[in-house]
Symmetry: C2
Subunit: 226 residues, 2 copies
DNA sequence: GCAAAAGTGTTCCAGATACACCCATGT
DNA sequence: ACATGGGTGTATCTGGAACACTTTTGC
């Protein structure tokens, strides 16, 4: 604490951080990016992208800034998840973490995988490494929230790129729910929501009939349904 | 802790508080307690019970402690709601508030209404006074959460005293939902949950047939249903 | 006997589920 | 021609919604 600036208060203040659980679907798996920690504590371990909240910075802005800084990813759907404040969760000082859950289509990744600063790794949800702090708990909470929201909101659409086929959309649902769905019932339900529209284009993709392409009617809107 | 102590950090830290929206049903209204602020800012205005998080104190403990200290109420059901961190929400210094939503039966109130420190007032949800900080937004969020949770969890049971009648339980639902419910359908649904049991006792209450008393099978458990 | 809340079943409807075949394409 | 995923309709089931009368008590 020698040095530069000093900020003093008449009563002790905790540090406040944000952490982001960013889900995406990659190679038919639900995955999320983790960042290799360089400093103490938990040096060398993996942790969620995140960091300290600027003194004049909104919490959401902090989450987005840290996510972009550490992983290069921008333009994601963001939702506040939970605030963890157990006094012993950071061995250095009292630290309170506001966790966010985020979703993004796979085609928006890899914008700049390495910005030269920290190592970023993508991990399937069922093959997570040991994680720093209480980040494992936070990921578990985020996953529960995602699964719960699948069937009372349009959150899954946030995984879809600009245009997509109904087959791809169904696959996304099946990956998150870990169970196969009936094709006809799925299409009926999802079209009845009236949130996607056919573009008129087709995608031919292999030795089979081309699929109609769809796009979101309200791309950034996540709504409660039913 | 004399006032002369100083706590210093190499980068600025926000203050962290908790605030509690405590719902209860009083006189057939959904009401919540507010505390008259004595100090700046917003002196004289009403605000949610809450205060600064101790440096070694868990967030939930802080919420419960402040609730008890300012209103005398203990033993409530508590659930984390949302964390507000807009940089301008407190004019003094950067302050981040972790808001909790709480529920309690009316018969647990009035344990010590006045502890001589601050004025406590109960307000019906539709007759709230102007409130300090962004507390009005927090209350709105809490109410939305309560209504949403009514029909996918057993949260409403947290409003019930030790024993109660099915009519009283139905009234609680009707007050929160602001609409009348069908008696037979309500009883079918709530009994099918298998979370309440008849005590065998009756309550005679007026010029009419006595009602069976029920109690919760798992008093402190709030479960997701269906 | 009358007012007032407690208690009790059945019918109906809508939305979810189960299910099988033909279509368009590339090789 | 065949393998591959795309695309379509109907019958059934189930859980929610609507609905009216009898019971027990205090006055």
């Amino acid at each position: 604490m020698n040095g530069l600036k000093n900020f003093h208060y008449t009563h002790p203040h905790p540090a406040v951080t944000t952490d982001v659980v960013l889900f995406s679907i990659r190679e038919a798996r639900l995955e999320l990016p983790l960042v290799r920690r360089t400093g103490q504590p938990f040096a060398g371990m993996w942790g969620l992208p995140g960091g300290f909240v600027g003194i004049d910075e909104d919490l959401e802005s902090c989450a987005l800034r840290e996510l972009e800084h550490e992983t290069g990813i921008t333009g994601v759907y963001l939702e506040q998840l939970h605030t963890s404040g157990r006094p012993d969760r950071d061995p250095r000082e009292r630290a309170i973490s506001v966790a966010y859950c985020a979703l993004t289509p796979a085609d928006r990744l890899q914008i700049k995988t390495m910005n030269g600063e920290k190592e970023v790794g993508w991990f399937a949800l069922e093959r997570l490494p040991p994680m720093a702090f209480d980040h494992a708990e936070i990921v578990t909470m985020a996953h529960q929230r995602l699964v719960a929201k699948l069937d009372y909101s349009t959150i899954a659409f946030q995984f879809m790129p600009e245009t997509f086929t109904l087959g791809e959309l169904q696959t996304v649902y099946e990956i998150i729910l870990r169970e196969p769905l009936d094709k006809r019932n799925f299409r009926k339900r999802v079209l009845a929501l009236d949130r996607i529209a056919a573009t008129g284009e087709l995608r031919r993709n292999g030795n089979h009939r081309p699929a109609r392409l769809y796009r979101l009617k309200f791309p950034d809107k996540v709504e409660i349904i039913k």
